[in-house]
């Protein structure tokens, strides 16, 4: 049970963002309405085998990282080198690319938080992070060496397990920072990033930990991209800058992207007492399941119950709703109308950062939470770029006799969906993310006043 009076502050953040050198660069580009999605040479290389050709990707040799290959011509990165000297070689040896980003982002977040070594290494400091884990180059090549090339198991290298296991990001980060509290991963598909932060929030709220680094990661992997491409749910036929278009009538899928977002959380009074800068306060976190037995299709009822759960103790009236908004044909409008159902038709705006960097899967919830923190910090709303034309007709599901939500077409809600960033008073923000399996998660954030 939550401990009365215990609140949770966000005191640091860090990440790996496509086409961005660092967090400041990411923030500048986001508020300048820039799109971080590019044509992906790795996908283009496979020509007609792949439908979608764009991604918010981070190359293995970006962000000061260099892959090391065992022998020339082998695409299996034996390990990585940090050319900027942030992560020791011994930690890099057990890390896949996503875990390397998680370690770099965690160091940034802890540095921003200003935790001492004793605080970081305390029994009261937890590591809670994970990835969607839809694919992994290291596992693929290890299997290939064994099954196809008939090599001995050792040719796959002795780090196949630590570099591919389910909670590898948390394990690698914990070994790096040497915390003595919990070390776990929450995995919930595209809600993973927010789910880990929500779980860490509860650990602190319930008095089980005082601090945590938490978030989500999705290391660049064509293997992941292939899986979604096979489902025909990826954007196709637009230029890179126009490919992610939540709410637009011509949207035809999401842009599969990669990255990492980590936040440093701390019990509010402790952070306040040591004079830490508080970037935001987490007001509440709630998650649930659709309960309709459908793996993929979003549920209006599930989302309605999500909002009820989030507002169960205190009525939350956000100025901005940071939506999941993937740009798949089915998801966006159900989500928008669930928001309208709860908040009414005016008095807030909707922000869809996936329109600028695509869908980072396991990292989506945490990187998008960072965009929400940046919105609070800058008092500017991030846009839904490419939401150029909104459907002037009712959606098919609105015509169903079972539909109890809004009976207006999306074009009637243009005033809620900005196409460019703009300044306004923002406090609080609500963040929404959903995942395959019908999992829904919501977090409310406010400024420290």
């Amino acid at each position: 049970m939550p401990v009365r009076g215990r609140k949770v502050a966000i005191v640091g953040m860090g990440g790996a963002f496509p086409d961005c050198a660092n967090l400041a660069d990411f923030s500048n580009k986001m508020f300048s309405n820039k799109v971080l999605i590019r044509e992906w040479p790795k996908a283009v290389e496979y020509n007609k085998q792949i439908r979608s050709m764009v991604s918010g990707f981070i190359n293995e040799n970006e962000l000061g990282i260099e892959p090391i290959y065992p022998v020339a011509g082998v695409e299996y990165p034996e390990t990585y080198v940090d050319t900027l000297g942030r992560i020791p070689d011994i930690n890099l040896a057990t890390a896949d690319l996503g875990s390397v980003w998680a370690m770099i982002a965690t160091k940034e977040a802890i540095e921003m938080a200003g935790w001492t070594t004793a605080e970081t290494q305390s029994e009261q400091t937890g590591v809670v992070m994970g990835s969607g884990g839809g694919g992994n180059q290291i596992a693929r090549l290890a299997w290939h060496a064994f099954y196809v090339l008939k090599k001995k198991t050792r040719m796959a290298g002795s780090h196949t397990i630590d570099r591919t296991m389910g909670y590898r990001e948390a394990a690698n980060v914990s070994c790096l920072i040497k915390n003595r509290g919990v070390c776990e991963s929450i995995v919930s598909a595209c809600a993973t990033g927010l789910g880990n932060i929500g779980y860490a929030y509860r650990l602190i709220k319930m008095g089980l930990q005082d601090r945590a680094v938490a978030g989500g990661v999705e290391g660049t992997a064509l293997e992941t991209f292939i899986g979604f491409d096979a489902m025909m749910v990826l954007s196709r036929g637009f230029s890179a800058a126009e490919s992610s278009r939540p709410f637009d009538v011509n949207r035809n899928g999401f842009v599969c992207s990669f990255g990492a977002g980590i936040v440093a959380l701390e019990e509010y009074e402790m952070a306040k007492a040591r004079g830490a800068k508080i970037y935001a306060v987490i007001d509440d976190y709630f998650n649930n399941s659709d309960g309709d037995g459908n793996m993929f299709y979003p549920s209006s009822d599930g989302q309605r119950r999500l909002w009820q759960g989030l507002s169960a103790d205190v009525e939350i009236k956000p100025d901005v709703v940071k939506v999941h908004g993937t740009a798949t044909p089915v998801g966006d409008i159900i989500e928008l109308l669930s928001v309208v159902d709860k908040l009414g038709e005016t008095g807030y705006h909707v922000s869809a950062p996936k329109s600028q960097f695509g869908h980072m899967l396991g990292a989506a919830g945490s990187v998008e939470l960072i965009t929400a923190i940046l919105m609070l910090e800058n008092q500017k709303v991030l846009p839904c770029v490419n939401s150029t034309n909104l459907n002037t007709e009712l959606e098919t599901f609105q015509k169903s006799p079972n539909w109890t939500g809004s009976m207006k077409p999306v074009s009637e809600y243009r005033h809620l969906i900005p196409q460019e960033s703009f300044a306004k008073e923002i406090n609080p923000v609500v963040c929404l993310n959903y995942g395959f399996g019908g999992t829904n998660s919501a977090m409310a954030l406010s400024k420290d006043i």
């Binding site: 090391i68 065992p70 070689d89 040896a93 001995k152 050792r154 040719m155 002795s158 780090h159």
Partner: protein, 93 residues
């Protein structure tokens, strides 16, 4: 005997080339390396890395070790050199 010494020197040089590609080994420690150097105590090599070194050596020298040989492998440089010679002899016999 002279030939064997020469072989061992060549193998050691080849082994050093392999070890230079192992990121968890400090390159500075490779300078004074001898056959008596111990990977664990002298070079702080993580135990999980020894199997990677063995796999790299197999690639470099075009040989294949038996699993039993690896199980019994000591942690000194001379142990790996002995194993390489054994695997080469086995391949030639």
């Amino acid at each position: 005997m002279e030939n064997q010494d020469l072989d061992r020197k060549e193998i050691l040089n080849g082994l050093i080339e392999v070890l230079k590609t192992v990121r968890t080994i400090d390159p500075a420690r490779l300078e004074g390396i001898t056959e008596e150097t111990d990977f664990m105590t002298d070079m702080d090599t993580p135990s999980t890395e020894l199997i990677n070194i063995a796999a790299k050596v197999e690639q470099k020298f075009g040989i294949e070790f038996e699993d039993e040989d690896i199980d019994e492998l000591g942690s000194k440089v001379k142990d790996i050199i002995n194993l390489i010679i054994k695997a080469k002899e086995r391949a030639n016999s």
